[in-house]
């Protein structure tokens, strides 16, 4: 292969010769493989134009005029020098623009921006100018003539093929694989089974899901507390139209607080009881309703409440839930309503869960039913 290529590399000086042959352009890729006709393309079209061959190389100004070449040389050198300047700028920025601990936020971000900018521009000059210089050098000063190299069909010659086939057949015969099915079959069996332990080993990457997707931290009697500021809630704290982000009390002391928070987040909204349908009223307390904040589409927190329409909007893919109609989906890619958390008050008048969620919160899964 390499030997052929070497022979065929044609220098610009030699080039005219193979190309002035005006070989027809398309079907020239060597002899067509035997027995592979090409009906749509193979019909001889006698009246095609002939390939006029490569155009004469037109010398560039740098080829003709030594002064132009000299100018290009200076330009390249100037670019390389500019790169050095960039490197120095980057180093200077690194050592002079410091971000100190006790700055105000605005000043800190300003300083950070300046440091990033100066360092970045320095590095940009350092890198870009090397690149621009080298490319300019190649385009203006290195030889501008194109070369021609032959291509060979990738397939081997018929002799190569016959020989390869023979070698493979011989080897197979020598190994005796065909003659000794016992060896072949046991080998196949052994190789097929060998990966099993590897798969088994992956088993401990995580526990079985069991009912984890259907359980949340909520149970009857748990207080609703504001999130993130904390504090229990009395119905009187909420005026009609207000929204509170809520977690179950004690969730941060749970064994896996983040995992619990990811399922237990709830949105509490107070509406005029007139505006709630029968179903919603079931779990409501004086017009106060609580719904899971975990979108039933892909689990983003649904948190954009529009007071006039009483719609909840998910920021991820814009599923829209109607709070006055039991959080039915009225638009978007979610299918199921947000599950409702039934509410009541404890003897001291604080809002508590009357029960846990009655269905799995969040995105759908196969076992959900």
């Amino acid at each position: 292969m390499t030997d052929d290529d070497r022979r065929d590399a044609v220098t610009p000086q030699q080039r005219q010769e193979p190309d002035s042959g005006n070989a027809p352009a398309v079907p020239a890729a060597g002899p067509a493989p035997a027995g592979e006709p090409e009906p749509p393309e193979g019909q001889p079209v006698p009246d095609r134009f002939e390939d006029p061959g490569l155009p004469e190389h037109r010398p560039r100004s740098t080829d003709r005029d030594p002064r132009a070449a000299r100018r290009a040389e200076f330009q390249v050198a100037a670019l390389f020098s500019l790169s050095v300047t960039g490197t120095l700028l980057a180093l200077a920025a690194y050592y002079t623009v410091q971000v100190e601990d006790d700055l105000g936020v605005a000043e800190l971000l300003g300083r950070l921006r300046l440091s990033t900018l100066l360092l970045g521009i320095g590095l940009f000059l350092a890198l870009f100018c090397v690149g621009a210089g080298v490319v300019h050098w190649a385009r203006r000063l290195m030889p501008g003539e194109e070369w021609t190299e032959h291509r060979h069909v990738l397939r081997g010659s018929d002799t190569d093929r016959a020989e390869a086939r023979r070698i493979l057949a011989d080897g197979a015969a020598e190994s005796g694989l065909g003659r000794r099915p016992l060896i072949r079959n046991t080998l196949v069996g052994a190789l097929a089974l060998a990966p099993l332990p590897a798969i088994a080993l992956l088993r401990d990457t995580g526990p079985l899901p069991e009912d984890s997707l259907s359980r949340t931290f909520w149970r009857a009697g748990l207080h609703l507390v504001r999130d993130p500021e904390g504090g229990r809630i009395r119905p009187d704290d909420l005026v009609v139209g207000s929204v509170v982000h809520v977690m179950p009390e004690g969730v941060d002391e749970a064994e896996h607080p983040l995992e619990e928070r990811a399922k237990a987040a709830v949105l509490v909204i107070r509406l005029d009881p007139e505006d709630l349908d029968q179903e919603s009223l079931g779990g409501a307390h004086e017009g106060i309703v609580a719904y899971s904040k975990i979108c039933t589409h892909m689990g983003c927190p649904v948190g954009l409440y529009e007071q006039q329409t009483r719609h909840l909007l998910c920021p991820c893919h814009q599923s829209t839930f109607d709070v006055s109609r039991h959080c039915q989906v009225i638009f978007g890619p979610a299918k199921r309503p947000l599950p409702q958390l039934p509410l009541t008050v404890d003897p001291e008048g604080y809002l508590v869960a009357a029960d846990g969620f009655r269905e799995a919160v969040g995105p759908s899964f196969w076992e959900r039913g």
Partner: protein, 601 residues
């Protein structure tokens, strides 16, 4: 250029076997083969010694002879793959720097650093270390931003490169497998980007992970198990970020390096394709020698790409995680947007209507998630992977193709490509439907409904329009060959006839316009035909092929033949007065036209 077949590292090296120390002798062959016979200089001697050393250890001279002068064609569109390659290198370099400071753990810690608003807060190690990297490591933010910008450029370059390859037909035999490697690289680029995006454990990346876990959950039968195994329990868990880290910095980069090597190896093996032009044939390759011209251009281009991404990172903030805050599953992330290469999946998820989810036999099947997030990318990749074989099935072309198609000369393929781009862009736009709604003050529901319609209706229209445009351009090419170029010179004949003078185009320019071969629709062999492969009957395969073939090639414009050109010139429609477009020529003036031609010649 005086010595072309005597590369620098060859020469008498082979004869020096047995000489214990070659470094201090000026007689090493290589130096005499050096440029301008700079025989005795110190550098030449040193180079000769290195060359000798390398040759005697691994036969460097043969490698240089075989490889150094390989010819690479030059065209701006061939730089797209290079941009992908170089941004990958930039990603590797900047990524290694980031690993020095990033801590892949979600163990809780108290952030103490320069950014006062978060000081003293309980956050994960991952988030805290990314903050430290941004604020307290000098240049850390710059490197983070270079890394992120390069990832965006990488994905974009791959996509555009892929379309370059598609529209020019560079995927045809013998490059089908390189196309497949390319599609896999494109897919992996999306995964790799997503994995990286998730590492800082900020509010947006956590939201992305939450979505990833829901996508896993939507898979029938095994979804909840997959999620539980991957996350090491419930979402978010403590296992996923460290695991993702290993995937992001070790597994996928290794696969990338492997696949990119295979990709480039095949490019060298097949030799690069070339655009059609005089002297460029399927059995040659015309371009610049690898060493030194192509090496310099490509090497220089690496620095240009690296420099420009650095400039982008210096000027434009990207992913300011301190502004988003640490991940917490409950706060709302209004207007959250993924990186652009995820955008089309996000858009598809937004368009899928909720009623696609259903419950059957006590099980929930969430097609509203499964179809856009799993099936769509899967089907798109499979179609892309199989396309080269689909086309060769239709054309029945089994030869090697090294001269690229001009996209207009393959109208159906070009139409299909534009159709795919239209589909993709509409999904991408859908990923920003909320932004469009607020910008245009339209209802988001109306926009989403409109996009649902458009994503189905527009791609076929794009196909038809593109195909028409291609055929039109081919006709223009024919006109140009038959009637020459408009010169803008208006001539008035003695009879008062006014026309525009056309100039003939030269034979090299003409070659570019006539070199291609138009496909003929394929006729299935008739049953009684003998020796037609399977002479006995017309198979389903034949019929399918002929139907597809008609779809591809029914509308076509053949290139001008010499006979047609001669006829056009003879009839006076040649390079004289304007023709074809019908402008500047009255219908009943054939005689004046002829007169015009003669005066011109």
């Amino acid at each position: 250029m005086s010595v072309t077949d005597e590369p620098a590292a060859t020469g008498a090296g082979g004869e020096e076997i047995g000489v214990p120390d070659g470094t201090d002798r000026g007689t090493g062959g290589p130096s005499t083969a050096g440029p301008a016979g700079s025989g005795g200089t110190r550098t030449a001697r040193a180079a000769g010694a290195v060359g000798t050393f390398a040759d005697e250890r691994f036969g460097a001279s043969r490698i240089v002879r075989g490889f150094a002068r390989k010819v690479f064609p030059d065209h701006w569109s061939f730089m797209l793959g290079e941009i992908a390659l170089y941004s990958f290198v930039v990603l590797l370099i900047t990524g290694v720097f980031l690993t020095l400071f990033y801590v892949p753990s979600v163990a809780p810690t108290t952030y103490e650093g320069s950014y006062a608003p978060l000081n003293g807060q309980q956050v994960s190690e991952a988030y805290a270390s990314t903050l430290r990297l941004s604020f307290d490591v000098r240049g850390g933010l710059l490197v983070r931003q270079i890394h992120h910008w390069s990832a965006l450029v990488f994905a974009a370059a791959i996509l555009v490169h892929m379309f370059r390859v598609f529209f020019t037909g560079a995927f045809r035999k013998p490059r089908e497998l390189n196309w497949v490697v390319g599609v896999v690289l494109a897919l992996l680029a999306i995964f790799e980007g997503f994995a990286g995006y998730s590492l800082p454990d900020d509010l947006l990346s956590g939201t992305g992970l939450r979505i990833a876990s829901s996508i896993l959950l939507s898979i029938p039968f095994v979804g909840s198990y997959l999620s539980s195994f991957l996350f090491g329990g419930e979402f978010p868990g403590e296992a996923f970020i460290p695991r993702l880290y290993t995937i992001h910095v070790l597994i996928l980069p290794a696969v990338f390096v492997l696949l990119i090597s295979a990709h480039l190896f095949m490019v060298v093996l097949h030799k690069h394709t070339q655009y059609p032009g005089p002297g460029r044939r399927d059995d040659n390759v015309v371009g610049y020698p690898f060493y030194p011209v192509y090496l310099a251009k490509a090497g220089g281009f690496f620095f240009i790409v690296a420099g420009i991404t650095t400039l982008m990172a210096a000027v434009f903030t990207i992913n300011p995680i301190w502004a988003y805050g640490a991940y917490d599953p409950s706060p709302v992330t209004a207007g959250s947007q993924p990186d652009w290469y995820m955008g089309f999946l996000d858009g598809a998820a937004r368009l899928a209507p909720g009623w696609w989810e259903f419950t059957a036999f006590g099980h929930t099947v969430s097609l509203n998630v499964l179809l856009p997030a799993v099936v769509l990318p899967g089907v798109l990749s499979i179609v892309a992977i199989l396309y080269p074989w689909l086309e060769s099935f239709v054309t029945r072309s089994r030869r090697e193709h090294h001269v690229l198609d001009r996209p207009r000369n393959a109208p159906t393929r070009t139409g299909l490509g534009v159709m795919a781009i239209t589909f993709y862009l509409l999904l991408l736009v859908s990923g920003g439907n909320d932004i469009i709604a607020t910008q245009l003050h339209l209802s988001i529901n109306a926009i989403t409904v409109a996009l649902r319609v458009l994503v189905i209706a527009l791609p076929p229209i794009a196909f038809l329009v593109t195909k028409r445009i291609c055929l039109g351009l081919q006709r223009r090419d024919r006109d140009l060959v038959l009637h020459g170029r408009e010169t803008g010179r208006i001539v008035r004949t003695e009879q008062g006839e006014v026309y525009e003078v056309h100039e003939p185009i030269d034979e090299r320019e003409r070659w570019r316009l006539v070199q291609h071969q138009a496909h003929r629709p394929y006729e299935p062999p008739s049953p009684d035909e003998t020796g037609s492969g399977n002479g006995h009957s017309v198979t389903v395969r034949d019929r399918l092929r002929s139907r597809l073939n008609r779809f591809y090639f029914r509308d076509r414009v053949d290139p001008v033949t010499p006979a047609e050109l001669a006829a056009a010139q003879a009839s006076g429609h040649g390079t004289g007065p304007g023709h074809g477009t019908g402008e500047g020529r009255s219908t009943e003036a054939p005689s004046t036209e002829a007169a015009g031609t003669t005066t011109e010649r």
